[in-house]
Symmetry: C2
Subunit: 343 residues, 2 copies
Amino acid sequence: MEKGDELGRVTLADVAREAEVSVSTVSKVLNGRTDVSASTRGRVERVLREHDYQRAARNGGEAPLIEIVFHELDSLWAMELLRGVETVANEHGAAVVVAHSGSRHAPGPGWIDAVLRRRPLGVVLVFSSLPPELKRQLRARSIPFVIIDPAGNPDPDIPSVGSANWAGGLAATRHLIELGHRRIAIVTGPEDTLCSLARLDGYRSAMSMAGLDIDPALIAFGDFHAEGGLARAKQLLELPDRPTAIFAGSDLQALGVMEAARVCGLRVPEDLSVVGYDDLDIAQWTSPALTTVRQPLREMAEQATRLILALRSGEATAAPTRLELSTTLVVRSSTVAPGPAAS
Amino acid sequence: MEKGDELGRVTLADVAREAEVSVSTVSKVLNGRTDVSASTRGRVERVLREHDYQRAARNGGEAPLIEIVFHELDSLWAMELLRGVETVANEHGAAVVVAHSGSRHAPGPGWIDAVLRRRPLGVVLVFSSLPPELKRQLRARSIPFVIIDPAGNPDPDIPSVGSANWAGGLAATRHLIELGHRRIAIVTGPEDTLCSLARLDGYRSAMSMAGLDIDPALIAFGDFHAEGGLARAKQLLELPDRPTAIFAGSDLQALGVMEAARVCGLRVPEDLSVVGYDDLDIAQWTSPALTTVRQPLREMAEQATRLILALRSGEATAAPTRLELSTTLVVRSSTVAPGPAAS
């Protein structure tokens, strides 16, 4: 195939010729229009893929959009990320489009066509990875994308922003050890996310470094929601030799742990110390206020958005980058030294 | 001025002639483009206004957007509304643009230009009113708008969706009276929103109907945030004849009230019953779980979005409509009969 422009790049006309369609049909496929037959679209996409076609970024008078895609839109957690994206988008006169997908692992099937029609400045994805075909389609349209990956399973192929999960787990557990706790339980997140495992490993390391035994009965996996915290904590608190402290792995789980304590007739913090993770706004308004590991969600979203704008303007290269922001322990009222009965 | 189309409506060409500019300049003004001088834009807007120009709704192959504008984007409350808009937008293949403005009373100054450029299917505004100029500009572009007005100050000129605030205040107070409380305090919202006053009036009516005195010392105005609930409740609980129950006016305020109880050494619900308002997800995870008045925020946002789509398609007329959804009392664990010490 001849290369059509002065830089030797494949042009729209080249693609049209090779796919045996009109230039306007190639353009329709690039724009995610639905009035192209599936077979034609498949042929055009194949030619685009074979030649690693990359369209010039759009630079018209249109209203600029930045898109954020969540796998769930149901917690303060999502709100913090949205605020971060919105702050930076605002500074640059762009509006924020919010999309959401029921799946934890990738945006829904209709999403990509809609994005191609919207042609946003870029896409912030709150997922751990992206199917190769979606990556390719976004790249062919020069739409930059960055993953916010608090789950800690970075796709090596995509720029991502995360936070220091292992260090967070270490800090939470050390704090409890320093208060004098020995029977320390953890309800970490789901077993299939690396961030859960990283926080758990931080817990293990803190216990080992303090010369404390790790009792497998005190390790539980939750779901990052209050329901899971309640269910797991009830089991832990019914153990004959119950823990005096629980590191809850998320603030929402910590709410469930506090409810479990109440149901079991235990007071927080006198009978049970509780540490959360995230430091959502709500953490300062639990009774007692929650000691937690602050994960800078808003800043993570701000960084991801700035990275998109830098990729867009050519200030950053598309070479995969991993930004990891630090986590910090915030001590409030839900943790104290274990009571005489427990120690 | 001659009227240019067969229906006798003013055309773009008519406006251009009268404003002594080109048709493309009129089009730029309609599209919110910034490459038009302020004086030219003013002249064109004046002609548009004088002739009550209304552009045909856009109907191209563009990706459809629905816009939601918040005055603050910092609570579960906003998240509930966003989810409602997103659900209905999704059903119709539209994406959601989120904008926010620091002011409680109207979108920021740059917002209207950006909206005109984006040309959304419609706009859901979480405000009580809209400046006349903004209304006119949206109408001239045939962009329908609906107000979600939980504050209860409906602009008579705009379709709006609200909820039954007076009935909610009445139900919350009646519940406390039925439990046997007599010293019942209220921390309602800000004094300048009608919804605060409606909830307060519901409280007053419930007290009067039960033959109970209304003690002005037990009436306080908050800010709908936890901080305000904490500050007001502390003052109430330090009264020589303190209340045995507080109706908190919002769930976030209820969190502050619960913290005030803890600070004052009072147990909820044994020493103090607390009722919230809204029924955010968090209400079931406070310790104890919060009795509250459910305001159907998500449904309100869904209704507002459906109304926009109906206005858009011509199924509904732009005649102002006020939809008021009902509120319901949700009884959980934060309310019990007053203890013997208090009664």
